[in-house]
Amino acid sequence: MPMRTPIVEFRNFSFRYKSQSEPTLHDINLTIYKGEKVLILGPSGSGKSTLANCINGLNPFSYDGVITGSCKVAGMETKNASIFALSKVVGTVLQDSDAQFVGLSVGEDIAFALENQSVPRKEMLPKVEWAAGVVGMSDFLMHVPYELSGGQKQKVALAGVLHGDVDLLIFDEPLASLDPMMGMTAVELIDRIHKEQNKTVLIVEHRLEDVLHRSVDRIVLMNEGSIVYDGDPDRLLASDLLTRYGIREPLYIKALQYAGCELSSEQKLADIQTVDLSPFEEQLKKQQMMKLEKYVPRLGEEILKVENVTFAYDKDPVLKNISFSVRKGEKIAVVGKNGAGKSTLAKLLCGIVRPREGRVLINGTDYTQYSIKEIGERIGYVMQNPNQMLVKDIIKDEVELAMLLRGKSRAEIDEAVKKTLKMCGLYPMRNWPVSAVSYGQKKRATIASILVLQPEIIILDEPTAGQDFRHYTEIMEFLDELNREYGITILFVTHDMHLAIQYTDRALVFSEGELVADDSVFRVLSNDEVITKANLKQTSLYTLARRLGFEPEAYIEHFINYERMVRVHGKQAAD
């Protein structure tokens, strides 16, 4: 084995942000060697981003803090170096692909680091072209950021840190804002750069299954500021650490566990294509034979009907001849790539924009006669980012705003607000300032501010975007309860196929403004044509079913039914 040179070395390292009284990282000992590809895994608040920021110099140079112990990057002791010195060896691609695009064109953004080093333009041009070529953006040098998709912006960000002597690339939650297909492409690109350019790669993520689409050498699992696992992926997948620390397990691992398989690292669990299934075949077949009570959602009468709706902002239609109907109590996933018309549909259902052709019926009445305000009492819309919705200081004020704006009487308002706050579990904190509560609670507050009008349908835009598994589960269980207990119909606009599988019964798939599928989730997810059109991704269940020789559709349906039973009754009862 060749000598391995360390590129990052943490020794008894701790870091405390100046604004906090407790350290965020405790006693970290970690070595990353040149040429390695390492995944830093952990739930939100586990310190994984803080760790990455200690390597690239944002900590302590941009976010002030106290370091004890030592962290060496390419031989430099970081606390004695500067963010600039570190940026010469460490390239960081941040999570927010939009905000980090500082140039006015692709070429300019890639050149930004070179400009700052006063590289003459003549030398800059070939370097920019080379970097653009590596990430496959050569044809886009003159494009402005508004013309690019999230995935393309991320490629540009990567190209922007690729040149020069950068040895180590850090990707901070690279998948957070991408749809499934773009996410897969990003993982493949990172893998290619790692191999072809001989760079050391650190990926900070909590979406384990998506990252494992391409192999990683090592996984470092963090929890509450400490490293709880540091080793090869197979052993981690065979252990119970993922569940213990709130990381979503890959679906195929879940399926194996449901079938009662004894997992061990010998089966090379990290890759769905090559995992050794031979010891489990019998169990998996037995599991598949098991008769399950078919899950049939209880549905009420039709409350929303969209008939042949076409809409355009100017010339080109954004929605083309869309028809579907929604029954009371349904949970529907609205999926499709960015720009496919999902958010326009949400706006259209709320009456912000109105159909050019066709009709929208709410409880059988054409909604043209209603104002936006009146529609808001029937269909509520919850935005992705709660910070863009919260306008008041106190939770109670936030929730009562919609009632106040409608000039309701004080008694009426108080009653509705109390009821809503109780529904959302916010009653005990009704007088708390909005800024003092957690993200999940903020999300609840925004949902409460919509529910107070007692709409029959709520539309949620990416309700769990950027959330780790624990928060994801918390938000989704809450929404599921609203649906179960109060019969509220929910439309989820989402990229997350796990969410669609676990929490919805039906999927509306959009592509280029057309509704290309309106079917049960398991049928949509086993339809290749629909998956390609909508930039979705085959789940690993599909691959697993294929490898086992099962019909994917039946297999995914069986998995969903089993999962629902486990969620409602627990695993023992399900068996």
Partner: protein
């Protein structure tokens, strides 16, 4: 939909577009000095004509421009009418003391040839400076503007403000739209037919709160992204958008340097001889 502003982010391909930011910024500044220094129609008129030619050569979107022109012409017409109302004899002071009355409304309000001349020159001067500015704005990209300002020794951190502002204005606009939509569904009434102006203003303040908070988040991210790519490290910086000087840039350099010298001469001679305060008036 993103680019409703007149500003180009990607350089166009006409003659003026292809100049470097340095040439554009320097020429513009010299022309402004040239315009401000005098009320001499012999100096202003050539630039007025060149302005029209320059504007046509850029092949702008006339539809959007038209409204700007109408507003500017209207405002300046109002301006000269007010000048006239304030003092019908104002031309005499500029054109050498005579009052040649052309026609008379009342004893107080009459039009003299001198006042007419003065106000006409004033009007042409205003329109010309507007046109020169439009040509400048249409021909330059924000990045070239940053590079051009940097070339006249403006610190690059200030130059960056210009390019960054243009980069993020559309993003903030989009956030604003989103927040507006969500508040409208909650019952905020922004329809002018249904809510009074005062109410609408109040409601718009409601939109500003989340907009400011989400913009702060963005600013933190942007500044991190810039730090991580070494922004602010050196005292100097180069610009990707600033291509090498072409023949046209060199020709422009000769012109603007010559013009600047001429301006210096003009300003010195006209300010050291206070007797010759009058403007050029061919009919004196």
């Amino acid at each position: 939909m993103e680019n409703k502003l007149l500003i180009n982010l990607i350089p166009g391909d006409t003659f003026l577009h292809r100049l470097t930011g340095k040439t554009k910024v320097r020429t513009f500044i010299v022309l402004l000095i040239y315009l401000i220094m005098s009320f001499d129609l012999r100096l202003i008129l050539p630039l007025f004509i060149l302005g029209i030619i320059g504007l046509k050569s850029l092949k702008p979107a006339w539809k959007t421009l038209k409204y700007f022109f109408i507003i500017i012409v209207a405002v300046n017409l109002l301006n000269i009418v007010l000048f006239w109302l304030a003092d019908p004899d104002i031309g005499a002071y500029w054109c050498g003391g005579d009052n040649t009355v052309l026609f008379k409304l009342t004893d107080r309000f009459y039009l003299t040839a001198e006042t007419f001349w003065y106000l006409m020159v004033r009007f042409i001067k205003m329109i010309t400076s507007f046109m020169v500015s439009v040509v400048f704005i249409l021909s330059i990209t924000p990045s070239e503007l940053a590079a051009g300002l940097y070339s006249i020794k403006v610190p690059y951190k200030i130059c960056t403000i210009f390019s960054l502002a243009f980069r993020y204005i559309p993003d903030i606009g989009r956030d604003f739209q989103n927040i507006k939509v969500s508040l409208q569904t909650r019952g905020v009434e922004l329809d002018p037919k249904k809510a009074s102006l005062k109410d609408r203003l109040k409601q718009n303040v409601l939109i500003l709160i989340p907009l400011i908070i989400s913009s702060f988040d963005r600013v933190a991210n942007i500044s991190n992204a810039m730090d991580l790519r070494g922004y602010g490290r050196g005292k100097t910086r180069t610009y990707y958008s600033e291509h090498e000087e072409l023949k046209a840039d060199k020709a422009f350099k000769v012109i603007y340097v010559a013009l600047l010298l001429f301006c210096a001469y003009w300003i010195i001679t006209h300010n050291t001889m206070p007797q010759d305060f009058r403007m050029w008036y061919p009919f004196a």
